[in-house]
Amino acid sequence: MIFLTRKAEFSSSHYYWIDSWSDEENRRVFGKCANRNGHGHNYTLEVTVAGDIDPTSGFVVDLKQLKDILEREVVSVYDHRHLNLEVPEFKTAVPTTENIAIAIWRRLEGKIPNAKLHRVRVYEMPDLFADFYGEA
């Protein structure tokens, strides 16, 4: 089995806020991320798939095909968007790096031919990233 990782980038704005909490509680828990005017990041997505090498093509997956899937399922939806206001899964869930990794997993699961989705890694910035392996 071979693990293959493809990167993609998107730039988005977001804020952290829970409507059922008071302003004070939101600011206490989320700090500067609770600014309702939002802020933004250049996100880097790394998608790792696992599979066997096709004896003819030598590929685990066709990288162009994988790139197109990431573009269609994730980048075209998230890039240059406000995650809270424009991306449906974050109407209710806080767009933390953890939740973004889980949401991207759900968007990609079952859509990659001939390989198993192994890991979704989302970098919010070079010093902070979250991994999701599809675990319950």
Partner: protein
């Protein structure tokens, strides 16, 4: 939903690889230029990986502000701009990055808001070290 959160911290410190168990010639032979009696230094990068259920309300494995505050007090305030050899944790062990990885793993075990999985330290851009306690890394996780 279980997720893994990784955060990178940076500090600069000096050290010297040397053990009293060896004579001078043996120290020089084993540790090479790292045995320079005047020491030398590195910009260390520490990458800490924690896991846990993502809180359905906050969307977090743990509060990053709490983790950063813990790291500031227990990692950066303790190690940044120090000579590692003068610290208590290296009183009886060589200040290799292997030993540093184990020490920093011990430190982050005291951060109880999430489960500590992995400490990865880059001593230079060419040397890095990983410590996972007793865990054996699963395929594709390192």
């Amino acid at each position: 939903m279980k997720a893994y959160l990784s955060r990178r911290y940076h500090f600069s410190a000096s050290h010297r690889l040397h053990t009293d168990a060896f004579d001078e010639a043996q120290n020089r032979k084993v540790f090479g230029k790292c045995n320079n009696p005047y020491g030398h230094g590195h910009n260390y990068t520490v990458q800490v990986t924690l896991s846990g259920k993502v809180d359905p309300g906050t969307g977090m494995v743990c509060n990053l502000g709490d983790l950063d505050a813990f790291a500031q007090t227990n990692l950066l305030d303790r190690f940044d701009h120090t000579n590692l050899n003068t610290l208590d944790c290296f009183a009886n062990s060589v200040s290799t990055t292997e030993n540093l990885s184990v020490e920093i793993y011990r430190i982050f075990q005291n951060f109880t808001a999430a489960r500590l999985e992995h400490v990865h330290i880059e001593e230079t851009s060419n040397n890095s070290f990983d410590y996972l306690g007793d865990a054996i890394p699963a395929a594709g996780t390192l």
